[in-house]
Amino acid sequence: MNFKKVQECERTRIEKWSQFQLHNRWKSYGAILCLILFATAMVLKFSDLELGWFKDVVRRGILVCLLVVSLSKEKDEDEMVVSLRAKSYTLAFIFGVGYAIVQPLFEIVVHNIVFEPNPENTFSYFEILFYMLFIQIMFFEVLKRNR
């Protein structure tokens, strides 16, 4: 296989991946399941149950559901919706990086200066991924509503 064929193959594959989307009905399934899991996470947070593994499962479930919502097509999907989605991913990426930079500083100020220092105040992958997916979905809905 020559170099041009390899390039062509890579381009086709990347194009195929970038166009991957789920059917519109997955959006409702994802949103409903996400709300259920979020409510479960809240119950676990304020209960005395020692179910560390279950908390992890719920957290991962929330991320998967948000990803499903994010990847689902709209009912009236057209090129403008595709362009708005691309903008929302850009904004989510920028805000996500900004959050990752600012959040630890905020954590230091709030928990070490204002309150007592607490070693449990850590920055998790869940927080950043949840924030990015949530921001993407939120910006997409706002951009879509104002188009």
């Binding site: 009236d76 057209d78 090129e79 403008m80 919706v81 362009s83 188009r147």
Partner: protein, 66 residues
């Protein structure tokens, strides 16, 4: 980019919804194009050209800041 899609649509007595259905997009997309909030792709511009029976540059014009 400026356009006269609203005028062309009025000539053909088409509503935004009818034009949207003819070229396979949503009514909001037609509204955004008419309000210069969205610049359509070449494919969409050519579909509009087919509907209006005119070349693309007759209803899309470059503005000074383009």
């Amino acid at each position: 980019m400026e356009n006269t899609i609203k005028v062309e649509r009025a000539i053909l007595s088409l509503t935004q919804d009818e034009l949207a259905k003819k070229i396979g997009v949503s009514r909001q997309t037609i509204n955004s194009i008419e309000a210069n909030r969205y610049v359509p792709s070449t494919v969409l511009a050519l579909k509009l050209s087919n509907v209006f029976g005119k070349p693309v540059n007759e209803f899309f014009k470059l503005s000074e800041d383009d």
